[in-house]
């Protein structure tokens, strides 16, 4: 492990922390433009984090150790996940320790902790949010795992680095299995990041919430860490999407000369994807919670179909 690869890793660690709220701001700003509003500006999430960190935290009387430590655990999991997905460079030192299955495991760990913390205070909305979150995850997590399986079968490896390198070097060849997997991945991305049509991230109606209902009891720095972690999660999912389906422009770690080009490629991809997400949210409506299992079942089925097609066609 050379020093420059280590420095690349630290660079990515810092980059994701700074980039995640900006991505969220961009998506919100695009939504505002599409809805003919003037919007709050690209830097609004930063202002929100700044405001929240300064406040005093108010905890419920019966909050336990689990409740108080979950924001830190959640933030650490998401930061770790964002640090090892190849965004600007492959062959990061951290990627050797965690492969795609372990990445899904880290996301699952974060989800279980926030669901348990939601049940901790003992309010109706907390357990409602936890129940709905586990409902979404019990189909979304296998779908994500099957999407990764398809990519792993194509590149004969579960290491993200190898997957990116294999798919990037095959040129513009379209894999039929990856096409199905891409649609499934998009559906899972919308579900896991609490986007329309599964969950409205800006709703104030508690009975329609999934993700927001779990964090109703948090305030101040805890809420700031959780919001930051949510934006990191969106960045992680988008980067996974780029790594699996659009891995062009990702350089090798240690190659400082190619860094500006890969950064520019990343920003371009994120800008287009963010706008696409905002467009998708504006054009769809939120589904009833009862319909969410059908939606996710479709995603799971498409993902399983993807890997079956890979076994059938070999591509």
């Amino acid at each position: 492990m050379k020093l420059s690869t280590l420095l690349f890793q630290f660079f990515q660690n810092g980059l994701v922390l700074l980039l995640a709220p900006l991505l969220l701001g961009w998506v919100n700003q695009c939504r505002a433009w599409l809805q003919n509003r003037s919007g709050a500006g690209l830097l609004q999430p930063y202002r929100m984090l700044f405001k929240l960190f300064h406040k005093d935290a108010v905890l419920a009387d019966n909050a336990s150790v689990l409740f108080r430590s979950t924001p830190y655990i959640l933030f650490s999991c998401m930061w770790l996940a964002a640090s090892l997905v190849p965004m600007v460079a492959t062959d990061l030192p951290l990627s050797a320790a965690v492969d795609v299955i372990a990445l899904v495991g880290i996301l699952a760990l974060a989800r279980v902790f926030i669901a348990l913390a939601a049940m901790d205070i003992g309010t109706a909305f907390g357990s409602l949010g936890a129940r709905r979150e586990m409902l979404v995850s019990f189909l979304a997590e296998p779908a994500l795992l099957m999407v990764f399986f398809t990519a792993a079968s194509i590149s004969a490896s579960t290491s993200l680095v190898t997957i990116v390198e294999t798919i990037a070097h095959r040129g513009f060849f379209i894999y039929p299995s990856l096409a199905f997997a891409g649609i499934a991945f998009l559906m899972v991305l919308l579900a896991e990041n609490a986007r329309i049509p599964v969950d409205n991230p800006s709703t104030h109606l508690e009975l329609t919430m999934i993700h927001e209902a779990m964090i109703l009891e948090y305030s101040a720095r805890h809420l700031a860490l959780i919001e930051w972690a949510s934006s990191l999660k969106l960045l992680v999912y988008m980067s996974i999407g780029f790594a699996l389906f659009l891995p062009f422009g990702i350089t090798e770690a240690g190659n400082w000369a190619a860094l500006p080009l890969s950064l520019a490629a990343l920003f371009a991809k994120l800008a287009v994807a963010g706008f696409g997400l905002a467009l998708l949210e504006t054009l769809s409506a939120k589904q009833r919670v009862f319909r969410v299992p059908e939606y996710l079942g479709t995603a799971f089925l498409l993902a399983v179909l993807a890997i079956l097609i890979h076994y059938l066609l070999g591509a």
Partner: protein, 675 residues
């Protein structure tokens, strides 16, 4: 003295351990009741610890044989200790250590009551442990069946400890019935495997070669017999009844260790006693195992009794283990021994993991039961504040069983998924399709297990207490012995999760014996820190690094936030979106948390519902989830058995003239045959 120690074989140590347990059991029969819990159970734990330690030290030795001058005149008891037996003995010893330590605290209250059955319970408990060790050591069919029956009977008596309650009697009867039906299957399987030579030792069975028809018969009978004990579909009906009926340490023993003796039986018959494996055996076990897993976890997600939930979760894990064995057999039948070794390693790892985290969870529910006398989740809640030790160790167990990094459940799940992924193309195209479908089913079962376990932990330990008049001050945390047992199991979960390469290097001896291949060279090539089953570029996972980075991230975040901002905190009432009236009844009950699963999978549950009408003066709502296999499978079998016995019973006319007629007709028929 050192000569004696050097010449001490592992089989002698194992035999001595079983005799020590028997002695402790006999002592328990005569000892004063007050002393049993604090002296005899820790002694049993010490014996288990010594057994586990010596098995770990002697895991790579050559097979050792002993012949005891007991048994039938021409069939003395044969004992044999090879790597497979040593591994399962290690599992037995390690899990029994924690459970016996826990029992020392759990049964103390029982020892102080007058008229309690602690003497008998101590005897039955230690006979149970000894008989399980005998099953693992047996090398001929007779000793195996003697040990198997002793195990079944001693566990039956343990299950029916509180036999004054009718449900417990019924559960015990069902358990005994299915255990004996399974034992008949195992006995018939041994009968087929001895191949007509009349020699029932395993050595003869190993050397013999069976025709394909008889090999299939032997395998199917063994799968039926051992599957009945393991809780495989459709012979699982006893599991959700017997585990809640038994005392909690006994449930932990049964779920953690006894089910694994059945897995040992399947492995022994399939890989060791039968000389060749057919592909369709593997496919059958794969499909049956995955169906069992999905069935178990779906039912676990809708239970409201804490012990029934864990029992159904055991069914799920047994299904995963059997499907792993099936995958291994399938690959082995096609000669792909490298990936078969990976699948077998994953299966054995999962077997070891399950003993630890299921034992831990059953022990945790035992403490909850002791403190609150409630098994129904609808009356529990908020226990993390009064029982911190139990809650923290149960959290480790919950995260482990849900398959989350960096604990042990994730390692075996990771290895199993890698086995599916690395499986090469099989000649049969339909078989090839089964592999990704199997991986999808495994992923689905794992995600549903996370659902069920979040429900279990969240409703029992978190939130507010659901029973209004519960005396909160009376709820006490676990005692010192119970804490010791819980921490032992939790430490096992953590260590098995953080150091997988060391565990795999030990498991390699077993897979080398069974499929003739192991992961050792590739797994340890990159050092003890990284788990790379095939090659670092193909798959690599380092739980210790992951854990360190997460801890580092948490510490860094905490320190930076404290340094740049502040850590000021105020306690207040819960926000709950400003709703003024909050009662604990507004939280999810166990039934409520499982309602989405009940609704989505309604076809697969036997659901009965009573809904109130608008004109009911006292409206009530009741919904019950029953096992549909009772209606589809068990009741028809019971009815046909009754029908057959009634039909045969028509022979009993009760008049002596009819019986004389029967004797006359039989005599004429025999004369006709002879002449």
């Amino acid at each position: 003295m050192t000569d004696f120690l050097n010449s001490l074989l592992l089989i002698d140590i194992a035999g001595a351990a079983t005799l020590a347990w028997l002695a402790i059991g006999m002592l328990g029969l005569f000892a004063p009741r007050r002393m049993i819990a604090s002296t005899l159970f820790p002694a049993g734990a010490l014996v288990a610890l010594l057994l586990a330690a010596s098995c770990l030290w002697g895991l790579n030795s050559t097979p050792q044989i002993a012949v005891l001058p007991l048994g039938l005149p021409d069939l003395p008891f044969h004992l044999r200790l090879d790597v497979l037996s040593t591994f399962f003995l290690f599992l037995l010893g390690a899990a029994a250590t924690g459970i016996s330590l826990y029992s020392a605290g759990y049964f103390r209250a029982m020892g102080e009551q007058s008229g309690s059955k602690l003497n008998l319970l101590c005897l039955q408990y230690h006979v149970f442990l000894a008989s399980m060790a005998w099953v693992l050591l047996a090398d001929d069919a007779y000793f195996f069946m003697v040990a198997w029956e002793t195990m079944a009977l001693s566990s039956y008596f343990l299950v029916t400890t509180d036999h004054e309650i009718p449900e417990i009697r019924r559960a015990g009867f069902l358990y005994l019935l299915i255990a004996h039906v399974g034992a008949i299957g195992i006995l018939l399987s041994f009968g087929v495997m001895q191949g007509g030579h009349g020699d029932y030792t395993f050595a003869t069975m190993r050397a013999g070669h069976l025709d394909p028809l008889w090999a299939n018969a032997a395998f199917l009978l063994a799968l039926f017999g051992f599957g009945a004990k393991a809780g495989l579909l459709p012979m699982h009906a006893w599991l959700p009844e017997a585990h809640p009926a038994a005392p909690s340490p006994v449930s932990a023993l049964m779920s953690g260790i006894m089910l694994k003796t059945a897995i040992y039986g399947i492995l022994r018959v399939t890989f060791d006693l039968l000389d060749d494996r057919l592909w369709w055996w593997g496919a059958l076990m794969l499909v049956l195992g995955l169906l069992t897993a999905l069935f178990g976890v779906l039912f676990a997600a809708v239970q409201s009794d804490i012990k029934r939930l864990l029992a159904y979760s055991s069914i799920e894990n047994i299904g995963i283990i059997v499907s792993g064995i099936g995958l291994s057999v399938l690959l082995n039948a096609y000669g792909e021994n490298a990936v078969a070794a990976l699948a077998l390693t994953a299966t054995l790892y999962h077997t070891l993991n399950h003993a630890f985290f299921k034992g831990l969870l059953f022990m945790g529910t035992g403490s909850v039961l002791h403190a609150t006398t409630e098994r129904n989740m609808a009356k529990l809640g908020g226990l993390i504040h009064h029982m911190p030790w139990v809650a923290m160790t149960a959290l480790v167990g919950t995260l482990a069983i849900a398959g989350l990094p960096p604990f042990n459940g994730f390692v075996s799940e990771w290895l199993m998924l890698q086995a599916y992924l690395l499986a090469p193309t099989l000649p049969e195209p339909y078989l090839n399709m089964m592999l990704p479908l199997g991986a999808a089913a495994l992923a689905l079962a794992a995600a549903l297990a996370a659902y069920a376990m979040v429900k279990f932990y969240g409703i029992v330990f978190l939130g507010r207490p659901r029973r209004q008049n519960q005396e909160q001050t009376q709820i006490h945390d676990a005692g010192i012995w119970e804490r010791l047992g819980l921490v032992w199991m939790a430490a096992g979960c953590v260590l098995l999760g953080l150091f997988p390469v060391n565990v795999i290097l030990q498991l390699d001896h077993v897979t080398q014996l069974l499929v003739g291949n192991d992961l050792g060279n590739s797994a340890a090539r990159t050092g003890w820190l990284w788990l790379t089953p095939v090659a670092p570029e193909r798959a690599s996972y380092s739980p210790l690094l992951l854990f360190m980075m997460m801890l580092g991230g948490i510490a860094l975040t905490f320190l930076i936030v404290r340094k740049f901002y502040h850590g000021r905190l105020r306690m207040g009432a819960a926000w709950d979106c400003g709703y003024p009236l909050q009662t604990p009844r507004m939280q999810d009950s166990a039934d409520g948390f499982g309602q989405p699963i009940k609704q989505i999978f309604e076809q697969f549950f036997g659901l009965s519902r009573e809904v109130p009408s608008p004109f009911d003066p006292h409206p009530h709502y009741q919904s019950e989830v029953t096992d549909p296999l009772w209606k589809i499978f068990y009741r028809p079998i019971a009815r046909s058995a009754e029908f057959i016995s009634r039909s045969v019973g028509m022979l009993q006319q009760g008049r002596i003239s009819m019986y004389l007629l029967y004797s006359f007709v039989t005599l004429i028929a025999l004369l006709a045959l002879v002449i």
